[in-house]
């Protein structure tokens, strides 16, 4: 089998923050952590950009949606005020 052409030299290896830092947990009440994973508009940032692993992205997604329900995070747009 032919060798795969080398990837672009500039891509930085992304790593899942929740796998790396063991004391970092995903909880819908922990708004400070969740804020790192939504855009300024309040959208959830995709996995291909933030680099979280599939398991954690799924949990994160759930947590963000719960936080939105109880008005910790906005559904859209930046926080009022």
């Amino acid at each position: 089998m032919a060798q795969r052409p080398q990837k672009k030299l500039f891509t930085r290896k992304k790593s899942c923050r929740f796998c790396g830092e063991k004391d970092l947990t995903i909880n819908y009440k922990d708004v400070k952590t969740l804020r790192n994973f939504v855009s300024e508009r309040g959208k959830i940032i995709p996995r291909r950009i933030v680099g979280t692993c599939a398991t954690h992205q799924r949990q994160l997604c759930e947590a963000i949606k719960q936080a939105r329900q109880i008005a910790f995070l906005p559904y859209s747009g930046s926080t009022q005020g």
Binding site: Y28, Q66, R68, Q69, I70, A71, Y75, G77, Q80, G81
Partner: protein, 140 residues
Amino acid sequence: MRRYETIFILRPNVGEDEINKIIESTTQIILNEKGSILEMNRWGIKKLAYLIKKESLGYYVYSDYAGTPAAVTEIERKFRIDDSVLKYLTIKTANSITEEGIQEALVAISAKETAKLEDEETEDVDSDEAEEENNLDETE
């Protein structure tokens, strides 16, 4: 018995009496269904991320308890009737909890609270710095 946590948001302009009454009644419902309260915490007035019923602030109350599904439906029914409750969210944190589990959870919660109190005492010194940081964030 299952373990749930419920957060509910009250209108910011309701009086202390009204808040006490609502908390009292939810506690009563849980106890009537032979459940037990693990934690009942008033987070106080916080800014909401979006307007709810034209209110921009809300009084948050957090409760952690062991109870039955019937208790939850009853609490939520009461909340829907009550005008001063803006929003509520109940989340099941454990499928089953035993008596021992309840005791363990109570110990863990009280330990956490004492740790928090100690933390605050030590953090008082550099709280000014933290405030400054917050201000910077806002201006950005």
